[in-house]
């Protein structure tokens, strides 16, 4: 009526026919009728709404893995049970999928017959007038229509057509005429468009999950710190099921500059990352990535999702060799108190004898970077670098990097420390301001050169997006048309002699319906 016309009502089962096959067919038919009935669709719709709720109450893997881990720690008994029923992956769980797939099957089962009958209705001329027009919700008797009935009918048809009715004149056996008119087919068209657009959304989402990908990368500012769009270079990635490593857009990118502005309260005001990139063998280009404003390549988009500081340390080892390493520190609070480690795996290698594998003298500095220190606490009080301090503990020994086991670049290998292969140097951590140097017990020196900004970038590609967007606008248009459309029929009966009468019928809510009918009747007289 308003958003939907009646779905097929649950009809009585067909008369039973003998044989198990026929019974099965009947059962199948009944199940199909049940599935495509409006009542079932409403129940499924309601279930869909209810099923989505746990997805907002429980931590979800696709949103925040950390919170899921925290939940496991907090509820060690409950968490595995919830996990088994998909509590942490609600929107990918079998039951959630089952609901929306059933809903879409129900939708298709309902839409196809409706599309068919709508096409038939569009092709068909309006049906002949019912015998008793006075039984209709709106009707008028004794119309003052003078002249030859055929001419009157033709005139009425012209009036109705001018009002964009679809009108047809029929001669009656008694010598009179009837005029049938119908308007508002757009309503059902809009309604069908709305529901088919829902299917388009589903297809678009499916395309995205098959052919799209997502990858994250921390990029430190500087030409020496760029990366290319290959899987080896990502910290983390997720490929669609039909995406291979070779399908990634071949671009390379470096961060040339990063600016962040903060309010006095420490809240961020603005971020912008200037980048330089090349696509394939093309010429290098510059771009600025901001929040709300990603870099859009043909088959990839690059988003700015976070930023932090990467301390730069210069270490001079016992052989006088100087190395400079920049290592991004991960922030642990909103004021960018950051933690990380700067590792020098190539330090203290005897230039003559080479590295002694049993007595590696590799060096690392692990600790915190505090962009604005209050002088006493190891916590930053402002996210910008107003009083930067690097508080790090030196370590010497075997960093454990040569074992070939992937490890975090933000922490030391705890196993190496526990087994004594990597030992703390000195009793106090070093407290360095930019430019400060410190001497370790073996005479080597370390200098805190300063920091470089880093940005966390997310690379995304989703080919289903355009389908979804198109579907969403079709849905919107369909919805508006179906909610504002008014389907109604009007009939005039002009007998061979005597006064004519008229009647009208509105399908669905249309408060202006009577007014329109009265107006029309007045006009034709």
């Amino acid at each position: 009526m308003s958003t939907v016309d009646e779905r097929p009502v649950e009809a009585a089962a067909p008369p039973p026919t003998p044989g198990p096959a026929a019974g099965l067919v009947a059962l199948g038919r009944r199940a199909w009728r049940w599935l495509t009935s409006m009542r079932t669709a409403l129940i499924l719709l309601f279930l869909l709404a209810v099923a989505a709720i746990p997805g907002s109450l429980l931590p979800q893997r696709n949103l925040n893995l950390e919170k899921v881990r925290a939940y496991y720690t907090a509820h060690p008994k409950l968490a595995p049970l919830l996990d088994r029923v998909g509590g942490f992956d609600v929107f990918a769980s079998p039951w959630f999928s089952a609901i929306y797939l059933l809903l879409f099957v129900s939708l298709v089962g309902c839409l196809v017959p409706r599309l068919r009958s709508h096409v038939v209705a569009l092709l068909r001329v309006p049906p002949d007038a019912p015998s008793r027009l006075d039984r209709l919700p709106a009707h008028a008797d004794g119309l003052a229509l003078h002249g030859d009935p055929a001419e009157v009918a033709a005139r009425l048809r012209a009036v109705l057509r001018r009002r964009r009715f679809r009108a047809v004149v029929r001669a009656q056996p008694d010598g009179g005429f009837t005029v049938s008119a119908e308007k508002g087919y757009l309503k059902e068209s809009g309604n069908l468009l709305f529901h088919f657009a829902l299917l388009a959304l589903l297809i678009g989402v499916a395309l995205g999950s098959w052919y799209g990908y997502k990858a994250d990368r921390v990029v430190v500012q500087g030409a020496d710190q760029g990366f290319c769009n290959t899987l080896q270079q990502y910290d983390d990635y997720g490929l669609g099921s039909r995406v291979g490593p070779a399908d990634l857009e071949p671009f390379c990118l470096t961060l040339t500059d990063f600016q962040a502005r903060f309010l006095d309260t420490g809240e961020p005001a603005d971020y912008r990352a200037a980048v330089s990139y090349t696509v394939g063998s093309g010429a290098p280009a510059d771009a600025v990535i901001k929040v709300n404003d990603p870099l859009r390549l043909d088959r990839a988009r690059i988003y700015l999702v976070g930023h932090g500081y990467a301390p730069v340390l210069r270490y001079t080892d016992r052989y006088g060799k100087t190395q400079t390493i920049v290592a991004p520190f991960l922030y642990i609070d909103a004021n960018k108190t950051s933690s990380g480690v700067v590792q020098f795996p190539d330090a203290n290698v005897d230039p003559v004898k080479g590295r002694d594998p049993n007595d590696k003298q590799q060096v690392a500095f692990a600790g915190m970077y505090i962009p604005t220190s209050d002088g006493t606490h190891a916590v930053s009080v402002f996210p910008a670098e107003r009083n930067p301090v690097l508080v790090v503990t030196p370590y010497r020994g075997d960093l454990g990097l040569d074992a070939g086991i992937p490890s975090s670049v933000y922490t030391l290998d705890q196993h190496q420390i526990d087994t004594g292969r990597l030992r703390e140097v000195g009793s106090e951590p070093l407290r360095l301001k930019p430019g400060d140097s410190a001497r370790l017990d073996d005479g080597t020196t370390v200098q805190f050169v300063g920091t470089r900004p880093w940005t966390a970038l997310t690379v995304r590609y989703d080919p289903g997006e355009k389908v979804v967007l198109g579907g969403a606008w079709c849905l919107m248009i369909g919805l508006l048309v179906s909610l504002t459309g008014r389907r109604r029929r009007i009939w005039f009966r002009i007998p061979a002699s005597g006064p004519a009468c008229a009647g009208a019928l509105s399908r669905g809510e249309y408060p202006g319906f009577t007014a329109e009918f009265d107006n029309l009747v007045k006009e034709v007289q």
């Binding site: 958003t3 779905r7 009542r39 409403l42 997805g55 907002s56 979800q60 949103l63 929040v291 919107m476």
Partner: protein, 328 residues
């Protein structure tokens, strides 16, 4: 400027509260018969003829004798209070508007950048929708008591518990999509608010008609006829639902630009989806003859419940990407 805005909001709440009082006076003095009669007349004027096939336009029921002087006096008071209530609502609305404008000037941006401002704007849209509705259909005036009640409660919670100092936008919100997406969300929420009041009162009137005598149903005595209320409920929702759809679509487009995906089941997104599905269910249920109308109306109420969970529950208790409430 911010202080001016805060003051104005207090006066706006006061205006709505006084309007509520005046509506209550109208409610108390307006005799049942007066309301019922007006409702009847309304029915005849608006949709009566579509509902009564064949017969000539239904004759208005013979007016009950107004001879009793007390009754006439009551009716006069009721009419006076009712008109006064409308004026007070309009005054409250103007103060409310001024509070928002000054807030916008104080913050140098559209005044809906945090939860406090969002709720203020939702209530403003709700008040606007109510004034439009009551201008077009004066018979619905008894609803004003409940609309202003909801406004006073929401604005009171907003001003007392959710107050946030003027601050610039966080970078993520700094986009023209704020104007489009959030404005659409506010508009839809505000209109749904009035829709909810109409739906709840439809159910109360239904219960009253069914002879229920417990508390909320006794309120039904002075409400417009149930089917008139029910039709109003539907039309308000039929207006708000596409706006809500538009808000979600714009949100998805913005999310694509800001977060890299158009949909990610963020708690706010999830509850917007839940509310959308429930309201879609309402529109479908109402269009299905086999579903009884009160059932459909209950679904509309459930939709508003989802909207409220989305507004308060998600903003205050669940962290997500939409955590812009500005409260710590």
């Amino acid at each position: 400027m911010a202080a001016v805005s805060d003051q104005l909001l207090v006066y706006a709440i006061l205006g709505y509260a006084l309007a509520m009082l005046a509506y209550a006076v109208e409610y108390a003095f307006g005799s049942r018969s007066v309301v019922a009669r007006v409702a009847e007349r309304e029915l005849v004027g608006a949709g009566g003829r579509t509902a009564a096939p064949g017969a000539p336009a239904p004759v208005a029921p013979s007016a009950p004798p107004l001879a009793a002087p007390g009754l006439a006096e009551n009716a006069r008071i009721a009419g006076f209070a009712g008109r006064g209530a409308l004026v007070l609502t309009a005054v409250g609305w103007l103060l409310h508007l001024a509070a928002m404008v000054t807030r916008g000037f104080a913050a140098h941006r559209v005044p809906w950048g945090n939860m406090y401002e969002f709720i203020m704007a939702v209530c403003f849209v709700g008040a606007t929708a109510w004034l439009v509705l009551v201008t077009r259909r004066p018979v619905l005036r008894p609803l004003g008591l409940f609309v202003t009640l909801v406004l006073v409660i929401l604005l009171g919670i907003d001003g007392m518990l959710l107050y946030t100092k003027v601050a610039p936008l966080v970078p993520a919100l700094n986009s023209y999509w704020l104007k489009i997406h959030v404005t659409a969300a506010i508009t839809a929420s505000g209109v749904f608010l009035v829709g909810f009041v109409a739906a709840a009162l439809t159910l109360i009137r239904n219960g009253y008609d069914d002879g229920k005598t417990r508390f909320p149903y006794t309120l039904g005595a002075r409400l417009p006829a149930a089917d008139s209320l029910e039709r109003t409920t539907f039309r308000i929702h039929a207006f708000a639902f596409p706006v809500w759809t538009f808000a979600i679509i714009c949100g998805a487009i913005w999310a694509e630009a800001a977060w890299g995906r158009y949909w990610g089941w963020d708690p706010k997104e999830t509850w917007s989806f839940v509310a959308w599905v429930i309201y879609a269910g309402y529109l479908h249920a109402r269009a299905t003859p086999s579903v009884r109308r009160p059932v459909a109306t209950w679904i509309a109420v459930a939709g508003w419940a989802a909207m409220m969970v989305n507004l308060f529950g998600i903003n205050l208790f669940i962290a997500g990407l939409h955590s812009y409430a500005g409260l710590n």
